[in-house]
Subunit: 338 residues, 2 copies
């Protein structure tokens, strides 16, 4: 640990991540994709009793369901990954539920990776950095109001954020600044697990560069963005999203991006298992996080397709599924390497 | 106009857009990038008096400032383009201010293009479509709750949304569905106006395809996504974001994407004028919208750098700047072509 981390300074994101993985016994990330259409009926009914307005009722149910999942997995998961779209679709009450969910997860000792895939240029990217990384200075000229508007917290401050790279370096810089100075992390979309991911990401490049595809070029940018950042155990705060459904590409990208933590979606529901996810880790079994959302959150529905289930049933099934995922990953990675 | 538009069905987005451009006398879009650090002091002071909580106070000021700009430009602008980041950075009170701003702009007869650059895969993209295009069905299997959670409005329903293409077709499909069936429009990031935009967008492609760059490949996808959509005057609801700072590329992309409306940012503050923006239009002077944000919103600060100004001063200066922009564009496009 470098001296920069001492004396009240927050540790770099890769250090906090490594600590969480060691403490929880594995690199499990639970994706918080609250889909009310799959909730147990009791939490929806209670939401309707608690709030007259249907939008606030469903947002209440979203927050309550998310809290129950967090309670169920807090000693198993290294992090949770709330997917903003599933909160944003209920407007500001949904965003208030996201705020409550982020705050609750942090209080329960979980790292929070917000899955927002945000992207924009310059000062607009700085506004997203303010939203998810706290009251960063926005480095825009001409500000004259003093501190009060520039330092207002969004309420959405998380540990890390997923970021889309299509706009290039100046759209990422405000997030890098928070990685450098505030212990934050980002995960840049490199190679996604969806069927159409290849349409742009696998395009073959011409010219004399070493990158053969768009995804490889993004990988090289990610490596560059990680340079000079605070590190832990060889890893920096700028990570990459690399789907588990493309293990042969994941292996090549793993070699291409030393020091870059991979966030691997697609575990479980999207068809990839522990053996596929293994490709994202280094030879020591480190350097990656694996996300599962619906296979954990709605495990009860697979266990008992015939029974509606209660919130407690869902939470207990989620815990069983998270423990199973942790065990599967430990077996694939070599037990004890955490 | 096809028969599909009759009998209570909403007209296709390109038809509504053409009507707005004709009515307002030009393709001016006013970008709503509310930066409290540049607001007149009176609106911030009033916000502080109206709300005890500083975050709600600044969100109040954001909504009030946005409303004043909308009032000032409603008969000059075809559309407003709220930039979500500048609302999201104040968390849920900021998103409530966005909801108020969208609703107010619609009531004042303005089309609303939400600049969110949203992107995700499959059912998550569907959740974003629900957020900004209303209560679309989420086409996910296993839903069993009946209509109430699936049909709750987000409060953020707009006419169009900017979308990032990095995830390919399946991340865009839920938005296309709303274009097809609900009269919505999208603007896909093709070639952005920021200095680093070229890093990925200008990468040269190998292989036998006709697209020479990533941006051209995205352009070809946009053309494909527009196929079979309801059209008006040759234009469909799937548009493209093409920066005015790269006019020679804009001209080539204009030829490459017939029937695709261009949304051109970068007018004014980002260094491009009417002559550069001209490249985005077809030979009739149609097929593009031009956005300006800070040059309009904060015009007072340029007019009178020595005077703090009131909200009324800012609104009057914004109106003058919008009228000037409309005149400049009309001159560049050939007056009367709208």
């Amino acid at each position: 640990m470098s001296t920069r981390e001492g004396a009240g300074r927050i540790a770099p994101f890769p250090k906090r991540l490594a600590d969480a993985v060691a403490e929880k016994g594995g690199p499990v990330v639970v994706g918080l994709d609250p889909r009310p259409e799959w909730f147990p009926p009791d939490v929806l009914a209670e939401g309707r009793r608690a709030c007259e307005d249907p939008r606030e009722a469903v947002a209440w149910a979203v927050a309550t369901f998310s809290r129950a999942v967090i309670d169920a997995v807090r000693d198993v998961a290294a992090a949770v990954k709330p997917q903003v779209a599933f909160f944003e679709r209920y407007g500001w009450p949904g965003m208030r539920a996201l705020e409550e969910t982020i705050a609750y997860a942090k209080r329960q000792g979980l790292l929070v990776i917000v899955d927002g895939k945000r992207n924009d240029i310059g000062s607009t990217a700085a506004a997203y950095a303010q939203a998810y990384f706290g009251a960063a200075e926005t480095s825009t000229p001409g500000r004259d109001d003093g501190p009060w508007t520039a330092r207002i917290p969004s309420g959405l401050e998380a540990d890390a954020l997923t970021v889309n790279p299509y706009l290039g370096t100046d759209g990422v810089e405000p997030f890098l600044d928070a990685c450098r100075r505030r212990g934050k992390g980002i995960f840049v979309l490199v190679r996604t697990s969806n069927p159409s991911g290849a349409e742009l990401q696998r395009l073959a490049l011409a010219g004399g560069g070493t990158a053969a595809t768009v995804a490889e070029q993004v990988a090289d940018l990610v490596v560059r963005w990680n340079e000079g950042m605070p590190t832990h155990d060889g890893y920096g705060p700028v990570g990459a999203v690399v789907g588990a459904t493309v293990p042969e590409e994941a292996r090549a990208l793993r070699r291409r991006m030393p020091g870059v933590v991979f966030l691997v979606p697609g575990y479980g529901a999207q068809g990839a298992g522990a053996a596929e996810a293994r490709a994202a880790f280094d030879e020591r079994g480190r350097g990656a996080l694996v996300n599962s959302a619906r296979e954990i959150l709605y495990a009860w529905r697979r266990e008992r397709p015939d029974a509606p289930g209660t919130l407690d049933d869902f939470a207990a099934a989620a815990r069983r599924a998270a423990l199973r995922m942790r065990d599967e990953l430990a077996a694939a990675l070599g037990r004890g390497r955490g």
